[in-house]
C-alpha cells in the first residue's frame, strides 16, 4: 500500500536557552534506535555512537565559570556534503527534506563521515552485540546495523512513517502533540526532552505544528556552520546570557 504523501519538510528547532544538558534525549535515542551499548573502549577509541549528543563548553575560569550545552544531531542538510560522495547512493535526499541512509546499500567507504562537518555519522567497526536477554528490548521498527555500515540520526523516520500510516488509516492529520483530532508525531529525543528544548515538525504544515512554525523564525535563530552553505534543517535558538557583552554570531 502506498499512501498519498503530503509535501513535507521536516525541521527541528533546538532552543539552547531551555536545554539543561540532562542527557534524557541521548538515552531515549539509544533506546529507540537500537544503538549498540557504548563500552569504555568505544569512548577511548573515539568510536562511541550517540546519534544525538550534548556538547559541553566551558567559558571563563573559577569563580566566574560558565558551562554551555549544545545538543547536536544530524542536521539533515538541504545541501548535504555527505550525499554526493557516496559511490553507491546509500545516502540520498528524499523529498521531505530528510537525508536518508540506506543501510543495505552501504559498503562502508566512510566518505560520507569524512565529509560531514557536523560529525554526526557513525561507523560500525564491529558487529553489534547485546547480551542475549537485552535483545528483548530492541525496537522491531528499526534495523540493527551490521558491521561495516554507516549510521546516523534519521529524525526517527520509523515514527514518521508509522504516524503517516496511522493518519491514513484514521483519516486524522499528523500533528505535534497528538490528541483526539490528530495523530501525534515526535522523534524519541523530542518526546523525552523534559525542558522542551527540542521541537520537531513539518515546516509546510504550521496548522498542526504551530510551535515549530513559531520558533523557526525566532530572533535568536542561527544554524550550525551556516557559512559552509549546507542549509541545515535544524535551527538553533541562542542561549540568553545576562552578561553577554555583545551578540556573538555563529562560526
Amino acid at each position: 500500500m502506498v499512501t498519498p504523501r503530503r509535501d513535507r519538510k521536516w525541521q527541528f528547532v533546538v532552543d539552547m536557552d531551555r536545554c539543561s544538558g540532562c542527557q534524557a534525549c541521548v538515552v531515549a535515542c539509544q533506546a529507540e534506535n537500537n544503538i549498540p551499548i557504548n563500552s569504555e573502549a568505544q569512548f577511548n577509541q573515539h568510536r562511541a555512537v550517540e546519534w544525538i549528543r550534548i556538547e559541553r563548553y566551558w567559558e571563563g575560569e573559577f569563580p566566574n565559570v560558565k558551562a554551555r550545552f549544545l545538543p547536536v544531531l544530524c542536521q539533515q542538510c538541504g545541501n548535504a556534503p555527505c550525499e554526493p560522495v557516496c559511490p553507491v547512493y546509500a545516502t540520498y535526499h528524499n523529498n521531505e527534506g530528510l537525508n536518508v541512509q540506506v543501510y543495505n546499500r552501504c559498503v562502508g567507504t566512510r566518505y560520507c563521515q569524512n565529509n560531514c562537518p557536523y560529525h554526526i555519522r557513525f561507523f560500525n567497526f564491529w558487529e553489534p552485540v547485546w547480551p542475549e536477554s537485552l535483545r528483548n528490548q530492541l525496537n522491531p521498527d528499526v534495523t540493527v546495523r551490521s558491521r561495516g555500515i554507516m549510521e546516523k540520526c534519521t529524525f526517527c523516520v520509523q515514527r514518521i512513517r508509522r504516524a503517516e500510516l496511522d493518519a491514513a488509516r484514521t483519516g486524522k492529520p499528523v500533528g505535534e502533540r497528538g490528541s483526539e483530532q490528530e495523530v501525534g508525531l515526535q522523534p524519541a529525543c523530542v518526546q523525552a526532552c523534559p525542558t522542551g528544548t527540542l521541537v520537531f515538525g513539518d515546516l509546510n504544515d504550521p496548522e498542526h505544528f504551530p510551535t515549530l512554525a513559531k520558533l523557526v523564525k525566532h530572533e535568536r535563530r542561527f544554524r550550525l556552520l551556516e557559512s559552509l552553505g549546507t542549509e541545515p534543517n535544524v535551527v538553533y535558538l541562542k542561549k540568553v546570557d545576562l552578561e553577554a557583552k555583545e551578540e556573538v554570531h555563529g562560526a
Binding site: A24, V27, V102, P140, G196
Partner: protein
Amino acid sequence: MRTTRRQFLKWSGMAAVGTVAFIGCDIRGEELLVESPSTMPEDLVSGLEAWYATLCAQCGAGEGVIVRVIGGRAIKIEGNPYHPVSGGKSFARCQAGLQALYNPDRLRGPLRRVGDRRSELTGISWEEALADLTKRLADASPGSVVLVTGPQRGTLGKVVQGFGSTYGAQHLVHEPMEQTVLRAAIKQVFGLDQLPVFDLARADYVLNFGADFLSTWLSPVFYNRAYGEFRQGDRPRGTLVQVEPRFSLTAANADRWLYIDPGKEGVLALSLAYVLLADHQGQINRRAAEDMTGGQGASYLEAFAPEKVAQELGVGWDAGKVRALAEEFAGHRRSLAIGGGPAGSHTNGLFNLKAIYSLNYLVGNVGREGGILFNPAPPLKDVPASAPGATLADWQRLVDRMRAGQVRLLLVHGSNPAYGLPAQLGFAAALEQVPQVVSCSSFMDETAALADLVLPDHVYLEAWGDDIPEPGPGYQTVTLQQPVVHPFKPGRDDPGTRAFGDVLLDVAKRLGGKAAEALPWKDMREAVRDTARQLHALGRGSVSAGDFEVFWNTLLQWGGWWDEKAVGPSVPGVPPRFDRDAVRPEFEGRPEEFPFYLVPFASHSLADGSGANLPWLQATPDPLTTAVWHTWAEVHPEDARRLGLKEGDELVVETPAGSVRRVLARPHPAAAPGVIAIPTGQGHTVYGDFPVGLGLKRYFSVVGRDRGANVFSILAPKRERETGALAWGATRVRIAKTGEWIRLSKFEGVVTPMFPKEVIPLARLSGEKRGS
C-alpha cells in the same frame, strides 16, 4: 516466444506483480529514479504496538510513564502525557528501566544458603522459599525481627507497614541521600509535614542554595519541565542564581553561580535577611518581618550584618556582594529561595535550610504562585503518602542491636544498606551477628550477597502497585502501576521472580493471626483494587464512573487518578522567628591532616548506585565532565597543578573514616579550590556482572561490579545536630596519587566540537522579555 524488456514490463504491470514503483503512481518521477526497486528503510513499518500506562520506579518521584509493548516485549518507555508529574516527559533513568527488566543478571528464582555465610546460595522452589520464610518468622520472636525497605509509599507501603505492625517487627526506611533534614526544615518553617512544590515555572527570580533539581533532587523531570517554562515560557525570562560549593548541573544552568564554603549557606541566608530588613523595608512583607524578628526588625539579626559575616563565606565574598544579592532578591516581584542538597548535608543542615526557607516569608511568596505552594493532604487516609527515611541515629541503634545479638532476622527490600551506609557504621560486619538475613532484591547486590535466603522481587514493570508522588504536583495525585509484560524468565524452567507485596501477603496468610487479618488480600492486584475502590468512593477527580469495573479500567488506561481541584492550603500560618544563634558546621578531620572539603554528590545517571547495573546509565556521560563508566574526583586546576595531578591519575581518597582507591583525578575548571567533589554510584562489589561491548573481548566492559569507588563508604558517621540525620557533607579528605594512570573514559574528544574555540553564540536579553 522471445520476451522483450518492454513486453515484460507491460505484463507485470497488468498482473499487478510489480513493486511499489508501479503501484505508487503518485510518487514523483525524480524520486522513482533513485528509490526503486528496493524498499527504502523509511517504508518499513512492522507489527502492532500496545501502550500501557504504569509507574516509573527508577528515581522514587512517582512519575507516570507509558510503555510501548510489541509482541509481549517492552520496547520503549515514555512519560505519560496526562500525568501531572511527568507531563509526557522522561529522564535518562526512566528510559533505562527496560535494561532492569531484561537485565542478564536478574535472579532466576529463590536462593537459600545451606550452611553458614561462606557456603553457596543454591536454588529452591517458591513453595520451599515461602514455607521457609514463614517458618523463620513463626519461630522468631517478633521483637527481634527488623524490616528494612526503600521509601515505599502507596498500597505496597500500606502492606509493608501493616505487616510490620501486626507481626511486631521494627520497620526502617533506607534513603541513601536522605531528605530528613529537608522535611524537618519545611515542618519547622511552614508548619506542614510534607514536601512542598516550588513553583519555578512562574517565578521571576530563584535563589537556589544547592538543590540540584535539574539532576537528582526530589523530582527532576517535574523540575526540568518547570525550568523550560521558567526560561522561555509565556512569562518574562526568569533569573536563576545558584549558591553552592560545587558546580552542579543546576549551577551550570544558572545565570550566576556563587561559590560558598560548605555549610555556610545559613549564615548567608540570614545575612540576606538582615539586609532585606534593614534596607529594603518597602519591598518586603512587613507583617512577616515583625513576626520573624519579634518586632525588633533588622537589629534582631545584627550579628549577621554583611560586614560581620561576609569574610567567612569563602572566596569571592564581601559585604557588597551580599548586599547586591539581597537587592536583587528583593527587587523581583516573584522571588523564590530554595535549599537542599549540600546545604542540608552538614552538622548544621537544619539551621541552613530553615534560614533559607524563611527568606520566602520576607518576600511574601509563601502559598502564592511563583513561590512555594503546598501539597494537600493525601487523598486516602490509610494509604501512606510519605515514607521518611531512618536517621543515622536510628541506624546506629540498629547496628548496636545487631552487634548485641538482639536482631535474629533482618528482611531487606528495595534498599542496599550494606552499600549505602557509611562503612564505619559497621552495618555489613554487624550482619554477621544476625543469624538470618532475608533479601527480596531483584538482583544480587551487596546486601543480598550476605543473605541466607533470597526471594527475588519482580522488576516494577511486571508488578501491580501504586504510588502517591512525593513531592506531589500541588494537587492530589495517585499513580497506578500495572504489569506491562509477563514476568521475564530467562530460562523456561526457572522458578522466576515474585512481587514483594505478594510474598508478604502470602506469608501473612501462612502465619495466620493478626497479620492475616490485617492483610486480607489474595495478592497485590486485589490490594491495589481495594485502594482504587476507595478512590472510586471519593467520587471526584480525573476518573469518574458509576461502575467500579469501568472506573478501574479507566484508571489503568490513564495511569492514575488526580484531582486538580484538591489543592493544598495556601496560608500556612505564622512564620517562626529567625534562629539568631548562628550554628557553624563541624567537620570530621582536622584541616592540617585533611586539607580538602569532601562534597559527595548523587551521580546524574547512577543516582545512589541503584543504576550501576544498567549499561545505558553507565554509558551516559556526566553532563559536566562527560565522564562515563568511572568514579572521578573533581579537583580545582590549581590544586591539581600543586599536587602534580593530571586527568586519569588514580587517587587514594582518605578520610578519617577510611579510604578508597580507583578514583580518577579530573582537574575541573569549575571545581573550587580546597574542595574535592566525588560522585556516588560506583564501587559495587557484587552488583552487576555481565560484559557489554563490541569486537575483541578486551574491548568489553563489565557492567556494575568492581569499577570505581563507593564514596558512601568513606563518609564519617557525623550527625546533623538536631535531626540526627547523616551529615553526608561533613567529612574532610586528603588525596594522594597511587602512581597508576587509568584513562578516564569520557565523551569529550569523541567528536570534534562544533565550536572548537569554545565561543558559543549567545543572545542578550531584549527589553520586552526581561523580568521586572
